[in-house]
């Protein structure tokens, strides 16, 4: 009897404790959010639904090609994708000859005799994409002191990268009347601090898509971000495909192990 009372007491103590601890934690989270809201203004990047996210999401090849088209004709003026090789474009459905011709449009510097001299040759499929500026200083000199970042990894290198890059592309708005914009910078609703060195890159009529898709700012932004998602994680499709097979295997394996465990332990106790 004593024991029963005690164990009831302890259960209720335990419940109170867990409730108290949980409310302590919730209190911290709520207060912290309140503090955060007053300290820094939350920019609120608009969420977009991407066709390639989720466990079964695959890259839309047509979107990748359109995105590459936008990148090549607009972004690549200032930004590189130096971690991607021309040969990787086979993934987008380009033929070997098309890739050879795309690569040969650029000049690559190389050292042919081990000496100090550098010579120019046309690019090859095995080359990585050449960056628009030879070095950081040249890039800064050409861009009023700012450095256009390499975009190979950009969607992985920013929190919520896909939505963030899309928002930046769509975020150019007239400067609000009370906002003091420093000279040489542009107003962007979604850039931290709202002052971005990059002038508005896309207007909605920058390219003509070879597949006949109508151009719009939204369309161009979505396609180029999809392309940059691919440059950041070219392994994505293979990864998810392998992941699904691995999961099926592991679930069967685990169920088998569970059945074996039940069978082996059955004769105990």
């Amino acid at each position: 009897m004593i024991v029963r009372i005690r164990s009831n007491l302890i259960t209720s103590q335990l419940k109170i404790t867990i409730a108290a601890s949980a409310s302590f934690f919730i209190l911290i989270v709520v207060l912290s959010t309140a503090v955060k809201a007053t300290v820094s203004e939350d920019i609120g990047i608009p969420a977009h639904s991407w066709s390639h996210t989720g466990p079964f999401g695959r890259f839309n090849k047509a979107a990748l090609r359109r995105g590459f088209h936008v990148f090549r004709n607009v972004c690549s003026t200032c930004h590189g994708i130096q971690r991607v090789a021309y040969r990787n474009l086979t993934y987008l459905g380009y033929s070997e000859d098309e890739i050879k011709s795309i690569a040969s449009e650029v000049k690559v510097l190389y050292n042919k005799d081990g000496g100090a001299g550098l010579y120019e040759r046309p690019g090859l499929p095995s080359d990585k994409f050449t960056s628009p500026f030879p070095n950081e200083q040249a890039a800064r000199d050409a861009n009023g002191g700012s450095l256009p970042p390499d975009l190979s990894l950009i969607t992985k290198a920013r929190p919520n990268g896909l939505d963030y890059v899309r928002a930046i592309l769509l975020g150019y708005e007239p400067t609000p009347s009370k906002f003091h914009l420093m000279s040489g910078l542009n107003y962007n609703a979604y850039f931290p601090g709202h002052q971005i060195a990059m002038p508005q890159p896309l207007y909605g009529d920058d390219v003509t898509f070879e597949d006949g898709t109508a151009t719009s700012l939204e369309q161009e932004a979505e396609d180029v971000v999809t392309f940059l998602a691919w440059t950041a994680m070219p392994e994505m499709e293979e990864r998810k495909r392998m992941g699904i097979i691995t999961m099926i295997f592991l679930v069967i394996f685990t169920l088998l192990m569970y059945a074996c465990k039940r069978a082996i332990w059955k004769d105990l106790e």
Binding site: F24, M242, I244
Partner: protein
């Protein structure tokens, strides 16, 4: 001692080099309490994680270049051009997080069920050494990709040693191999990151030897009384561990294949740049509780000392907790403080990831105060207030349903016996 193997080759070898007898003794016949619950799976899961980390790490090292000009590029080359390099790297990267999840659960299991108490003090202390080595290894590993967080995380953490009076500055320069984090630092971190896991393996062996001396603790926290309270490790616990491994691998594969950057910081995909400091420098999530303790103290030296003390206090734990009852199941008041500790550490982890301003600092201080109070204040005196519930007489009695009601006198003797055992 030697086991009589039927295979003649095994027998021949075993007679000269008794490895098979040892394995049979340690992983086959090893008598294990029959009442272990699923929290006891996390020891073997930690071992599995260690193997996953070493195997994937060796594969990565074959394609990695520890040089400031090439480290980031070589990691990206692994991700893009090495066959299944992305898989190996994502396994290694997320394997670290899963290793810490498993080990933290393993530690809290020990805290709740009193696995640190006599006669298992050394087993516990060896475990704390493993934790320390894991932390050092993980910290140096995070530096290797040479991204922004690698560089700035390393800068912040190594700078902590400069708080030591007189020798601090020289010590930091000695650690760096120069006057800033640079190529010599990256090079030595790579060497040590490769070396430490093998030291961990050897200490894990000591951990297992110490474990097998008195056998596993169990949820009741009472000693084995009768032979029928134990079962051989194989096949009972090998199969139970295999089932646990299946669950573990499902969760692990889910992250590796479908959310590989879930635990990572986006900033680490930006190549390191000593001239540009990220807005928020945060360590990996598994260091956040300790980072919160560090930042909650206004004085740098005191902060560093507190952070290290938060681990070192675990070394003293077997002597700080004076209760003769091992399992938290039978300690009503202890239980309350234990669950608050768990929430407290999770809160510290949350606070460590937030900027050190305003309310965050106040909460960090409260949480830090409770963390130390639990070990230094609560545990030493709680015994006096604990409701000293009645222990079951034996594991068999408990299993047979002879619950604590059976006999008060019976229980008192079991309780006394255990106190005697612990005090000797």
């Amino acid at each position: 001692m030697a086991y009589n193997f039927s295979n003649s080759l095994v027998k021949w070898i075993d007679h000269r080099l008794p490895v098979f007898s040892y394995l049979r003794h340690a992983a086959y016949d090893y008598p294990t309490p029959k009442n272990l619950n699923y929290w006891w799976n996390f020891g073997s899961l930690a071992g599995i994680s260690l193997v996953i980390m070493i195997v994937s790490g060796i594969a990565l090292a074959m394609s990695y270049t520890p040089h400031v000009d090439h480290a980031f590029d070589s990691v990206e080359r692994i991700m893009r051009d090495v066959n299944y390099g992305w898989l190996i790297r994502y396994i290694h990267m997320n394997g670290a997080s899963f290793f810490f999840i498993v080990v933290y659960i393993h530690i809290f299991r020990g805290l709740y069920f009193g696995s640190y108490k006599a006669p298992r003090e050394l087993l516990w202390i060896i475990g704390v050494f493993i934790l320390l080595l894991m932390m050092a290894t993980a910290f140096m590993g995070y530096v290797l990709p040479w991204g922004q967080m690698s560089f700035w995380g390393a800068t912040v953490i190594t700078n902590l040693f400069s708080a030591i009076p007189i020798i601090g500055e020289s010590l930091v320069n000695w650690l760096w191999g120069g006057f800033s984090i640079d190529n010599p630092t990256l090079n030595r971190f790579f060497v040590l990151h490769y070396l430490f896991p093998f030291i961990i393996v050897s200490i894990v062996l000591l951990h297992i030897i110490a474990l097998h001396r008195f056998g596993s603790n169990n949820p009741l926290g009472i000693e084995i009384k009768y032979p029928n309270e134990t079962i051989p490790f194989h096949p009972y616990y090998t199969i139970k561990d295999a089932y646990g491994m299946g669950i573990f691998l499902i969760l692990f594969a889910g992250v590796v294949f479908f959310a590989p950057n879930f635990f990572g910081e986006p900033d680490n995909y930006i190549p390191s740049n000593p001239l540009s400091t990220p807005a928020h420098i945060v360590p990996e999530w598994y260091f956040l509780p300790f980072y919160a303790i560090l930042r909650s103290i206004p004085d740098k030296l005191a902060g560093v000392l507190s952070m290290f003390s938060s681990i070192f206090v675990l070394f003293l734990l077997p002597w700080l907790d004076r209760s003769p009852v091992r399992s938290g199941q039978f300690r009503g008041v202890f239980k309350i403080f234990f669950w608050i500790l768990l929430i407290d550490v999770i809160s510290l982890g949350y606070l460590g990831g937030k900027p050190a301003t305003g309310m965050y600092v106040i909460f960090s201080r409260l949480a830090t105060a409770y963390y130390f109070a639990y070990f230094l204040l609560v545990l030493p005196i709680i015994n006096k207030f604990d409701s000293s519930e009645l222990l079951p007489n034996s594991i068999s009695a408990q299993i047979a349903g002879l619950e604590v009601e059976s006999s008060k006198a019976f229980n008192d003797s079991a309780y006394k016996e255990q106190s005697d055992h612990i005090s000797t």
